[in-house]
């Protein structure tokens, strides 16, 4: 019985070490620029200690799940590390989540505490007899608000936590197989599911990504992505691990404000997603000094090759990383920037310390040029879905010989002769038109070649003659662009069977909370 914990060594063993080791090594360095405040590593560490002491006082113990329902903020950062310091598992819920889904997540993970924005409607959640989340023992509310009436669970304001609880570092209780976080994936169908990451998964994945990005302590990273999205979350985790400075913003809604911040803070790293780059590309950037930027990264969905080229022209001094991943393995592939000229359409090779290959449906490993499902092996392969053994069994399989846990990504790729990977489509995205297999991405790439096109989504719709007909949804900045012109462009660049039958113009496309185009909502 009992467990024995590792002492913090040179290599971080638990995620809390990212903050604590940097706080011990660089106490007075600015760790976080957010909400108009500049906090040193010591200040963030002490704030997180106080949150941890409050949670421990609530009765939160090792292995409990504690949820955060906050916009990107100082409190969210202190909350994440406070939860880890209390030995618990953190669950970041997107702040735009509606009440039903929030309740679903809190109940699904049986959260014992919640750290939420004070404006959250907690009616029925913390007061009254009903107690829809029966395990909930306490709640920390951030921002000014009156205390809820008749609370049945203990509610503290964040200010009280800061004033009343000591900045004492709690004892280490975890081993690296304990869960560090559940990341609920938006999922284009069905209820969200919580991807389980243990401490070892996070420490490994963060270290591997830091290695290929070449991050150093002088890096200043700006994050406009929500912390509920693993890509946004890892900006925080990685920056604290390598002892850099994180500039944390709520969103990219006001691009000029973000560009100004890049200039003021001399930001070196900018993580983006395709929709965000689509906003940035048509902008006149001459009013901003962006010379501090060292690298841009893209993931979540592939960036059209035409956008990659335009970005490189716009930011000639900047290194561009095209990447691919899914929450189930954090990051999977990245393209070394030196390869970008030769293979602009590729998302590269497995991240350092991992392996990936392609299989067909019978489990045969494929040769270069063949298309098949991407399979991933490494310490970044997450532990599965929280209390969903059937879904876990579908996505994660055990290698019969070595006993390794492998991730079957459900994404189709092909490789070139040198082993670089090219995304083809989601396995269930493939359109069968005229008996031919159509990868929507290929058609989307061609339509993106029209300069004024901002976003494209291609789907298959039932057609009595073709089986499925190809339909393209187009968002354009040019109101004079016609269906005819788009079709003519497609005919000039695609085989006949790949040319869409219908073009529909939209002012925007439906998105998941993480900004991926939600094709299931298009018909």
């Amino acid at each position: 019985m009992g467990s024995s914990v590792l002492t913090p060594g040179h290599h971080a063993a638990l995620v809390r070490d990212f903050l604590e080791q940097s706080a011990d090594r660089l106490p007075d360095k600015i760790a976080l620029v957010c909400d108009g405040r500049r906090l040193t590593y010591r200040e963030v560490d002490r704030l997180a200690d106080r949150v941890a002491q409050a949670l421990i006082d609530f009765g939160v113990v090792r292995g409990d799940r504690v949820a955060l329902f906050l916009p990107n903020s100082v409190e969210a950062v202190a909350g994440i590390f406070g939860i880890l310091k209390a030995g618990a598992t953190f669950v970041v819920v997107n702040p735009t989540t509606k009440r039903d889904k929030l309740l679903y997540i809190l109940t699904n993970c049986r959260a014992t505490a919640l750290i939420a924005d004070a404006r959250t409607d907690l009616t029925g959640l913390v007061d009254g007899a009903e107690r829809p989340v029966p395990n909930l023992r306490g709640c920390i509310l951030c921002g000014a608000s009156p205390a809820p009436a008749n609370p049945a669970v203990r509610c503290l304001n964040f200010r009280q936590v800061v004033e009343e609880f000591p900045a004492t570092r709690p004892a280490r209780t975890n081993i690296d197989l304990d869960l560090a976080c559940l990341i609920y994936t938006s999922g284009t169908t069905g209820d969200p599911k919580g991807v389980m990451s243990d401490h070892g998964n996070v420490v490994f994945a963060a270290g591997s990504i830091i290695e290929y990005l070449g991050n150093v302590g002088s890096d200043v990273v700006i994050n406009v992505l929500p912390l509920s999205f693993d890509y946004g979350l890892y900006q925080l985790l990685m920056t604290f691990k390598f002892g850099g400075t994180l500039v944390l913003e709520r969103s990219f809604a006001y691009p000029a404000a973000i560009l100004k911040r890049i200039e003021q803070e001399r930001v070196t790293g900018f993580p983006g997603v395709p929709t965000l780059y689509a906003l940035l590309l048509p902008m006149d950037l001459s009013a901003f000094d962006l010379s501090s930027l060292r690298y841009l990264t893209n993931t979540a969905a592939a960036l059209p090759v035409s956008h990659i080229e335009a970005l490189r022209k716009k930011f000639p001094q900047v290194t561009m990383f095209s990447m691919y991943g899914l929450t189930e393995t954090k990051r999977t592939l990245y393209l070394p920037p030196a390869e970008l000229d030769r293979r602009p359409g590729s998302v590269g090779r497995p991240i350092p310390g991992t392996e990936a290959w392609l299989e067909d449906d019978s489990g045969r490993r494929l040769r270069p040029g063949e298309t098949g499902e991407l399979v991933v092996r490494g310490r970044h392969v997450m532990r599965g879905y929280w209390e969903a053994p059937e879904m876990t069994a579908k996505r994660y399989r055990t290698d019969p010989v070595t006993g390794d846990r492998l991730c079957y990504t459900n994404d189709l790729f092909r490789t070139d002769a040198d082993g670089f990977f090219y995304f083809v489509s989601r396995k269930d995205d493939i359109i069968k038109s005229r008996g031919e297999k159509v990868a929507p991405k290929e058609v989307e790439g061609v339509i993106h070649g029209i300069a004024s096109v901002r976003e494209v989504a291609v789907i298959g719709v039932a057609d009595p003659v073709l089986g499925q007909a190809i339909k393209a949804f187009v968002v354009t900045a040019d109101s004079s662009l016609t269906e005819k012109a788009v079709l003519a462009h497609c005919r000039a660049h695609l085989e006949d069977y790949l040319v869409p039958k219908v073009i529909e113009f939209r002012s925007e496309l439906p998105k998941t909370p993480t900004g991926k185009i939600k094709k299931t909502d298009l018909t």
Binding site: A253, P255, A257, K260, T275
Partner: protein, 81 residues
Amino acid sequence: MSDTKRDLRNFIVETFLFGQDTGLADDTSFLEQGIVDSTGVLELVSHLERAYGIKVKDEELTPDNLDSINALAGFIAGKRS
């Protein structure tokens, strides 16, 4: 000025709040309340350009200019003067 504010409020409520005006104050931050995202800001800008005949420059896409009804009204007045 108050006419402008009323028109702006109507536009925000119709476009981003599905017609539900629930406690939108003149100084409510669109961003903090989750009323607009990146696409929303672009929609807002094209509305300003169409309805008020002004041209919004890229470097003017900041919360100071655009993030509340008050900010918008001030921004439009400044552009017109």
